[in-house]
């Protein structure tokens, strides 16, 4: 028997269909939105409620080796929830789809084990490439076709949804000799440059028609003056599609080695000028955070800065990761600048369809702070109060000083949290409520305090099931693992096998995640 539900009388925000708060019924049958239902179908009264598609997190860290190391590092559970809680807490905010942004090839099996145990949400990850022997060897041989096949193989073998490139070549150089190569510097002992890695992988992602373009964490994260690197990177891509991860961490001015300042205005202009580029903001939120990154240099830098505990792990034939607990403080001048730079990017954003929400959970703060971030964007009076609290020097030169008046509308919020991330991910059935869409829906009771409103949806539906109500899970369902299935020439496996035979402790089959290793464990 088919399951039906009619959500009646709500104010619907569905930017993909240009619906901006119109009163509409949403009809659901067997987990999908349908055009109409028989009159006797069960109803959910949404009168007075705001109805949005389930939200989509395009960049988070929720599964795999480094996330689990972070959980062990902080048994006091400051910022990194368990796997079951990750699914529940996202759902309780109205998020129904989540992507982990960085899983190494060798960590794919582990990441899928955790995703299998993650309830409620649909989920997936981007597999890391660009500091690994496989891509570097293929580039050394000089063939972009070979890189394309490595990428195709890697996505298929790891059952990933997309590809993530972190500090291209820089991870390998750091590991080999703590090098920090510029875009055109050859890596130690190689003829390959970061520019070559970057462009070859962007081209390969395009050629394979991956649903999401190359997801790029640019070089020099967190360093003064890195805005130049980011601008150079955009130029190097020559119009090819790219998604820039946590852009806020890459918009800094200042002298190398000195205190970073914000050049968010220039990056905003660059976004406006390059329609091929999208980004998530990577907003910093004051309070506890845990930095976890495949950019091992950043881990070491933050450990030196904090003197706190630090996990630093290397993976054979590819990069590694660093995990350091962290805290962002209002009265710290750099943290204040980072907070301001993220808000500048969002408030100056030329196109909400290309700059979407993230805190790079848990790097800039946890995903639980999304409602507060939305209030900062939507409520100028609240924002001004917060601006008055932070270290004034951190605001110097930022557009916040000029008193940005913009307030995001509910329609724009629905874009940056739903419609845009779904579109950037190529998820046809998500981020909207048109006929055929997945019936992932969040219903909010309007509240003068927008943080309150977005913290506790009245109802959350996942694939048509009423899974959460008023801050409590009603039914624990199991979402799907989303994967891409690009083609590759099987001949590439011979080359990969050679790399492994020379230098690995594993065989090629050890990298291949089976079809029976994904999907709900119970």
């Amino acid at each position: 028997m088919s399951e039906r539900l009619r959500i009646t009388g709500g104010r619907v925000y569905d930017p993909r269909h240009a619906i901006d708060g119109a009163i509409r019924d949403i009809c659901i049958e067997d987990g999908r939105v349908v055009a109409a239902l028989p009159g006797d179908a069960p109803t959910l009264d949404a009168a007075g409620l705001v109805v949005m598609p389930g939200a989509v997190d395009i960049h988070s860290h929720v599964a795999g080796p480094k996330v689990n190391l972070a959980r062990r590092l902080e048994p006091e559970r400051r910022t990194v929830p368990t796997v079951p809680d990750t699914g529940r807490l996202y759902t309780l905010l109205g998020y129904t789809t989540v992507f982990d942004a960085a899983v190494p090839l060798l960590g794919a099996r582990h990441a899928h084990l955790e995703l299998q145990d993650t309830p409620l949400v649909d989920k997936g990850f981007y597999v890391l490439l660009g500091n690994d022997e496989f891509v570097l060897a293929a580039l050394e041989d000089g063939s972009d076709d070979a890189v394309r096949d490595v990428l195709g193989w890697a996505v298929r073998a790891s059952r990933a949804y997309g590809v993530k490139v972190v500090n291209p070549g820089g991870g390998a150089a750091w590991k080999a000799a703590r090098g920090t190569p510029g875009l055109d510097d050859a890596l130690p002992g190689r003829r390959v440059t970061p520019r070559r890695i970057l462009t070859a992988l962007a081209r390969a992602a395009d050629a394979l028609a991956l649903p999401h373009p190359m997801h790029l964490h640019c070089s020099n994260l967190g360093l003064a003056g890195n805005a130049t690197t980011t601008l150079d990177t955009i130029a190097a891509l020559e119009g090819r599609r790219v998604h820039l991860a946590h852009l806020q961490f890459h918009v800094y001015g200042g002298e190398p080695g000195g205190r970073p300042t914000s050049r968010a205005r220039e990056l905003s202009a660059a976004l406006a000028a390059h329609a091929n580029v999208s980004a998530d903001v990577g907003q910093v939120m004051f309070g506890p955070a845990t930095t976890m990154t495949a950019d091992a240099r950043v881990g070491e830098m933050l450990h030196d800065l904090t003197g706190r505990k630090w996990v630093d792990a290397d993976l054979e034939l590819e990069g590694g990761c660093g995990v350091v607990p962290y805290e962002y403080r209002e009265r710290n001048v750099v943290h204040a600048m980072q907070w301001a730079a993220g808000l500048e990017l969002l408030l100056l954003s030329p196109d909400p369809w290309r700059l979407v929400l993230s805190t790079d959970h848990p790097n800039g703060g946890t995903f639980l702070s999304y409602p507060r971030l939305l209030r900062l964007l939507m409520d100028r009076a609240y924002r001004d109060e917060q601006i008055a609290r932070v270290h004034p020097q951190g605001l110097e030169g930022t557009a916040l000083r000029d008193g940005l008046a913009r307030e995001y509308s509910l329609y724009e919020v629905a874009i940056v949290t739903r419609a845009a991330p779904a579109r950037l991910l190529g998820l046809e059935h998500k981020g909207h409520l048109g006929v055929g869409a997945d019936a992932d829906v969040a219903l909010y009771a309007p509240d003068a305090n927008l943080e309150t409103m977005f913290t506790t949806p009245r109802h959350v539906l996942k694939a048509g099931r009423r899974v959460a109500e008023d801050g409590a899970i009603r039914e624990e369902t199991w979402g799907r693992t989303l994967q891409a299935t690009p083609p590759f020439d099987p001949a590439v496996e011979r080359a990969l096998g050679r790399v492994l035979a020379e230098a690995g402790s594993l065989s090629l089959e050890d990298y291949v995640v089976g079809a029976d290793e994904i999907g709900a464990a119970r």
């Binding site: 959980r71 060798l106 582990h110 505990k309 630093d312 792990a313 054979e316």
Partner: protein
């Protein structure tokens, strides 16, 4: 084919599972213990059973690996997957050998054995350094001081082989890539609470100037799987109590050894473990007095209920290598017996009904 048993009498699996469920449900404070020689699938299923029972869940690592857990929570870690060791120019075996072929004798790799009392490193090491057990921690602290470029005064030095330690520290900070191998599941006599801290701090210090990683040798088939699965499902690597307010961590407090010694548990479910190999005689004696449900390939004498399963080696599933890499275990021959995971899932169902 081995049969499951109830009170020593052969039983159909379902009937035995029903008795096991009744026994565990009747307990005031059940303990689920083991998960060492179990696949990830079985470890997950054991967590589900423990959660349903409101049990305490623990593994042998709460005793053997306690110092390492604490060092990790205090300081973090400097790790590498095994294949990275091929870069090593220096390997220091701290009172143990290594199972990594990458650290076997080869040109370009200097191998140093530090022998502590009767705990000795590989016999074919290039260099040896002998310490008395009571010199071990002072030697680690001295190494760290030397690695920092500090001096060690006479009072600190005591009877330590200062010159040898100074030279070893120099090699650690000047090598291109070094690996310090230690026993991360030491026998009871070698369970010094400070060793893991001191080793981690030493490696950190050396890593400022060179590239040095710590490799901890583990015992059992899947100890790293157990701590990973427990961590992602409960937040904690061992010694977890499932209460109404969710899982709680009690290192020491919720360790099987402590609970048994205190007589705090009144039923035990054993999964993937031979408990006598990991418990003190007193705790083992107490275990023998507590009603017990045991899963395994070998019948456990004295168990109220024995649930026959395939042996670990004959069970398909996922397993974590000692360095944290998850692999797929595909046995050459499948067993006629159900896996631990299957039996635990049935037990969970019986507990739910």
């Amino acid at each position: 084919m081995r049969r499951s048993t109830v009170d020593g009498q052969p039983s159909e699996l379902d009937a035995a599972v029903a008795v096991a469920a009744g026994l565990l449900r009747a307990a005031r404070q059940p303990l689920v213990y083991g998960l060492l020689d179990s696949t990830v699938e079985a470890q997950r299923a054991a967590v589900a059973v423990a959660r349903r029972l409101g049990a305490i869940l623990d593994t042998p690592a709460s005793a053997s690996h306690a110092g390492s857990f604490r060092a990790f929570e205090r300081l973090g870690a400097a790790l590498a997957s095994r294949g990275e060791y091929r870069h090593a120019e220096l390997a220091v075996f701290w009172a143990c050998g290594s199972d990594a072929s990458e650290l076997a004798p080869r040109p370009g790799l200097a191998r140093v054995s530090v022998d502590v009392g009767s705990a000795r490193g590989p016999a074919d090491a290039d260099t040896r350094l002998a310490l008395e057990p009571d010199q071990e921690i002072p030697a680690l602290l001295a190494l760290r001081a030397f690695a920092r470029g500090r001096r060690v005064d006479a009072a600190q030095a005591g009877s330590l082989p200062v010159e040898a330690l100074r030279s070893l520290a120099r090699r650690l900070v000047s090598c291109g890539y070094g690996v310090v191998v230690c026993d991360a599941d030491p026998a009871p006599a070698r369970r010094d609470a400070c060793r893991a801290d001191a080793l981690t701090a030493l490696v950190r210090e050396c890593h400022r100037k060179s590239r040095v990683r710590l490799s901890g040798l583990r015992r059992g088939s899947n100890p790293v799987g157990a701590e990973n699965v427990l961590t992602w499902l409960t937040g904690f690597p061992a010694s977890v109590r499932f209460g109404a307010d969710g899982p709680r961590y009690g290192p020491g407090e919720f360790a099987a050894e402590t609970l048994l010694q205190r007589g705090d548990v009144d039923a035990v479910l054993l999964v993937g473990v031979e408990p006598e190999a990991h418990l003190s005689n007193e705790a083992a004696a107490q275990l023998a007095r507590v009603p017990c449900v045991a899963l395994g390939a070998v019948e456990r004498e004295g168990a109220r209920v024995f649930l026959a399963t395939s042996a670990f080696g004959a069970t398909a599933g996922r397993v974590f290598r000692g360095d944290g890499v998850a692999l797929r275990h595909a046995p050459p021959q499948s067993s006629d017996h159900p896996s631990e995971a299957t039996v635990l899932a049935r037990l969970a169902e019986a507990l739910a009904s």
